[in-house]
């Protein structure tokens, strides 16, 4: 444990980007403190479409709402939905992949054919169709992207399990009477976890962008909930008169994605012995 701790702390990039990521999460958690008296959903029309000033650092939108408050509160929606999404595809993909690789046979065939089907769909097409058909909401956007994203994890977990499935120590464990559940949780699952955590960490950024894209199209978070993608969509119509309405939410997505991508890359460098 002592040695492991050093491995993380001695990687400067990882420390820096962990702190930055933590700051973003903190900003979302402490949104009421940061925004003071400004509400993300209520504004007065007298303040509509004001350029950035001391009172409203990011300006206001067409309803007079403070964009800074909306961006900060938007982090709550964007971050929580992204984390839920990544966790769902990680959990579903890993379980299905481990089961598929361990049992083989028809279980494997069925799971993998379904995975093939999902992969054969160009990602966003099915996500748009699902989100559109189920009705537009943050939850449905998460479901939609989960549906098309889990196969990647399942395939990965399956191949990792298949690698050790026929090794001697697994045979020995089976012969000595280990029960199936024990085999799965004690041997198969731990063997896949590092690679899959790395994959999940590096996927946070792109998943966040996909969710924002769905919201941007109107299939995700619904107004007046502040969400970066849907804020960009609102800002689109005011591009000429109020460019700040689309600049700041976009910047928020960009910065958050950069930080989480960097964090994921650094985590991979630490955990994956094969990388440079």
């Amino acid at each position: 444990m002592e040695k492991k701790k050093n491995k993380f702390l001695s990687n400067r990039g990882f420390v820096i980007f962990s702190i930055l990521a933590l700051l973003i999460v903190l900003a979302a958690v402490l949104a009421p403190v940061l925004c003071g008296s400004h509400s993300p959903t209520a504004g007065s029309l007298a303040d509509a479409i004001k350029p950035p000033c001391a009172e409203h650092p990011f300006g206001t939108d067409k309803m007079g709402r403070d964009i800074f408050a909306r961006v900060i509160y938007g982090a709550r929606t964007s971050l929580s939905s992204t984390f839920v999404l990544v966790f769902v595809i990680f959990a579903v993909g890993t379980v299905l992949g481990v089961v598929s690789g361990y049992f083989g046979g028809w279980v494997d065939a069925v799971i993998m054919r379904i995975a093939d089907m999902m992969i054969a769909f160009p990602g966003l097409v099915l996500a748009i169709a699902v989100a559109g058909m189920l009705g537009a909401s943050t939850r449905n956007a998460v479901i939609a992207i989960s549906l098309v994203s889990w196969p990647k994890y399942a395939r990965l977990a399956r191949s990792l399990v298949m690698k050790i499935r026929h090794t001697d120590f697994v045979a020995a464990a089976t012969v000595t009477g280990s029960r199936t559940m024990y085999m799965l949780t004690r041997y198969m699952f731990p063997n896949t976890i590092t690679t899959l955590v790395i994959t999940a960490a590096t996927d946070i950024g792109s998943m966040m962008m996909e969710l924002a894209a769905l919201s941007f199209l109107g299939f995700g978070a619904q107004p007046p909930t502040p969400e970066w993608g849907s804020m960009l969509n609102e800002g689109r119509n005011f591009m000429q008169s109020a460019p700040w309405m689309m600049i700041f939410p976009g910047l928020a997505i960009f910065i958050t994605v950069v930080v989480f991508n960097m964090l994921g890359d650094n985590l991979r460098d630490i955990l994956d012995p094969r990388s440079e």
Partner: protein, 312 residues
Amino acid sequence: MGKKQLASRLLQMLIVLLGISFLTFLLTYLSPGDPVRNMYTAAGIMPTEELIQATRDEMGFNDPFFVQYFRWLGNCLRGDFGKSYSLNKPVVTLLKARLWPTLKLTLMSMVLMLAVAVPLGVLSAVHHNKPIDYIVRAVTFFGVSLPNFWVGLLLILYFCVRLKLLPVVSSGGTFKDLLLPSVTLAVAMSAKYTRQVRTAVLEELSSDYVVGARARGVPERKILWGNVFPNSLLPLITMLGLSVGSLLGGTSVVEVIFSYPGLGNLAVNAITSADYFLVQGYVLWVSVIYMVVNLLVDLSYNYIDPRMRLRR
């Protein structure tokens, strides 16, 4: 790929397609909207309950699920994807009209992307761990983190609103209309591909035959363009195939931003107006195109990679 492999591949494609058609149909079947009601509202009629029931019977919406599914599938196989009620035209006609603009956009952005990614990737790999490499890596890193809808909006803001150089709304006809949407799509993609080209070239550069060629005094330029580069093309082609598919779907965001008359824009509108036949048709078409493109990519290995031919 041998004949046998090709046959099994085609069979697999058929199974997957069947699954996709089932899933698409199930989705529309489960969705909360009522197509009959939507059809009447789209036509501006306030229907009575009896009229709705009568039409449901007539159109077969009251039949059991599997009866409906197989009837729909049969019609699709005969090329009849139903009629879009929001646009009042056959789905096939609509899709056909929008396919070419989207393909044009896809191809144009691919060409732009390759024009940036290949030189930068090779440059970065050749100057491995030198300043140029660091700069390229930093730029591509930021590139992959840029959401393409934001890039699109910023491009519009700068080129259309500030400089007034290009039209804000593109009708998809001229080169000018195509330029900004394809640049938008190319930005994130070039970043991704530059990294891929760099990795592939680096890998080839460290292989034994390069060391051998250098030892024999073969000029570096000849090694790079005569051996290393052609060899590193293979993974690139696989990725290009996958990208064509994700682009066909991914263009929708960009098409909406630029009001570009492509498939993606059509699909988004179809969903917002709950035009289920159109959505079903769109999903099926795009999946078929995607699968055919990937099959062609796999087949092309036979010509590109001599090892594939020898293996038979």
